[in-house]
């Protein structure tokens, strides 16, 4: 846990520096005429101070306990569900909501261990159709139709 937290703090410090450099690219103006860069400048300083403070606090008083990262099948499920969400985003503009939602539901059901194929296919179609009906028809949310028009 300690090592990970140190890594997180160093990454946060680097990002904070990047943010501050970005802030310096905008006109800060003067105190009586503050520009769009003044507030990000203060915030950048806050971020850097907080990153250094967190880093020092971790070094002075190491955090006990272990970092529980998923392994094996647990990791597989996390990656599977993440892949499902990414698949939805990638597919949505091309195949539309109905098919993209079928893809995500199927991936999640499969990843989470639903073994029966008839159930998997049945639930995939039922959930995707219900969500389409709920949002597109009942709530009038225009969802991309894609290739099915």
């Amino acid at each position: 846990m300690q090592r990970t937290l140190l890594g997180v703090n160093i990454a946060a410090l680097l990002l904070s520096v990047l943010y501050l450099v970005g802030a310096l690219g905008y006109p800060t103006g003067t105190l009586d005429r503050p520009g769009p860069g003044l507030y990000p400048l203060f915030n950048g300083i806050l971020l850097i101070v907080a990153s250094i403070g967190s880093l020092v606090a971790n070094l002075v008083r190491p955090v006990e306990g272990e970092l529980h990262l998923p392994k094996g099948k647990d990791l597989g499920r996390v990656l599977g569900v993440t892949a499902g969400t990414i698949a939805y985003v990638l597919l949505l503009p091309y195949v539309g909501h109905l098919l993209a939602s079928m893809a995500v539901v199927f991936i999640v059901l499969h990843t989470m261990g639903l073994t029966s194929w008839p159930f998997k296919i049945g639930f995939t179609i039922a959930i995707a159709l219900s969500s389409f009906y709920l949002f597109d028809k009942l709530l009038n949310v225009p969802l991309p139709r894609g290739i099915i028009g």
Binding site: G22, D32, L109, L143
Partner: protein, 503 residues
Amino acid sequence: MNPLDGLFYGFSVCLTTANFLAVIGGAIIGTLIGILPGIGPVGAIALLLPITLGMRPETALIMLAGIYYGSMYGGSTTSILVNVPGESTSVVTAIEGYQMAKKGRAGAALAIAAVGSFIAGTLGLVLLMLFAPMLANYALSFGPPEYFAIALLGLFALSRITGAPFWQSLLVLGFGLALATVGLDPVSFVSRYTIGIIQLAQGIELVPVVMGLFGVAEVLCVAEQAGGLPQIVQTKFRELFPSRPEWRHSWGPIFRGSGLGFFWGLIPGPSTVLSTFASYKLEKHLSKHPEEFGKGAIEGVAGPESANNAASAGAMVPMLSLGIPFTPGAAMLLAALLMQGVQTGPLLISARPEIFWGVVASMYIGNAALLILNFPLVGLWTSILKIPQSILLALILLLTMVGAFAINNSMLDLVVLIVMGILGYLFRKVKFDVAPIVVALVLGPMLETTMRESLYMSRGELSIFITRPISGTIIGILLLFLVGPPIWNIMRRTNKRVPGKAS
């Protein structure tokens, strides 16, 4: 309008068909959300925001508020029967509630939790009715420096109270404030941090951030653990009546929890959660039999359950009277109002009484409806937990993604949702609290606007923040929050080192 007239007006608003359905619908959805470990009230409000866009502002807020306090009720059911807190405010209830369930007193624990929640919710509302208009009247004299000071106090107090290490909370807070600076700046409309993506000029939407940090991240955590179906303690309707000694032991904790919870709700931070811990500690301290705590003491259910409901009413005070949210839940309710184009702030109560009084009255109806729902439908609610996890996760994930997309029909929002989901999951792994991000994202633009307006007003004099009495006092309190705890720690350590003083 005096409170009584206001309340009658509120009832006339919320007894229209649409608003009444919104109260009941919100309470039912809230209970469901509270029962299911997953989205949580903040994620649920975010999820339903797009649906409320077609509603009238008061109807939308009535429904979303119903979800907010309904989830407090729902969370207790699974805590007691399954030892699985549906959301964080029910963690304490699980300690004593589940022990009572194991002794065959699940019904009594559920009943006390429901009655306590009802009484606390109602008392919290009375205090909300009295405090909010008073504060709003007072706030009419506030200018940008006062709003800047309040927002700053809210943010920094939040980082002191969350329970996470101070520097870590400050870092998360800074991250939220940094996210809020993406897009056109609110005063001179200069594009900032858009890294060449035109769509980012409109800024990062709150809803996909919240749904990612709370909804998607939780789905990933549940997917990782993927346990079997929980063992549910069966409860019969006739067992739902507490015995006379159980009632006697509960009245005190209910009323103490109500008062304590409401005032915790006024403090920036995860007040609903912290109020439950504070109430539990208080009851254990006051009890004649503290050794029974941890073994099924009913006071440990009555107090915390009352405290979290009263705290959710307390958290509405700064949101409705100042337009400043101190908790993620209140931030989402405020976001709902802003999306409806409602001008929030101290004028809300007088300019849009139908919203303020409608919501207040709806909470009375909602609390009564929840009491009725929670008694006979306990079996139905717990049976929801028997739905296979794979189907629940697929449903939640799909609803979350469609909800995020539906706000602006924007692919960018979906990308933000996924990035925040992964980030939220990683934050949980390293035990970073994400609540400050939500509040910072809402308060960030206000903080910047009021800071710049104050500096324009004072012609660049930073002393404007401390020379004005109200903002000066608030900045003083803020300094106490920041430097008080370290000074106290140093003094305590010094005292320990001096042998004579240690005793």
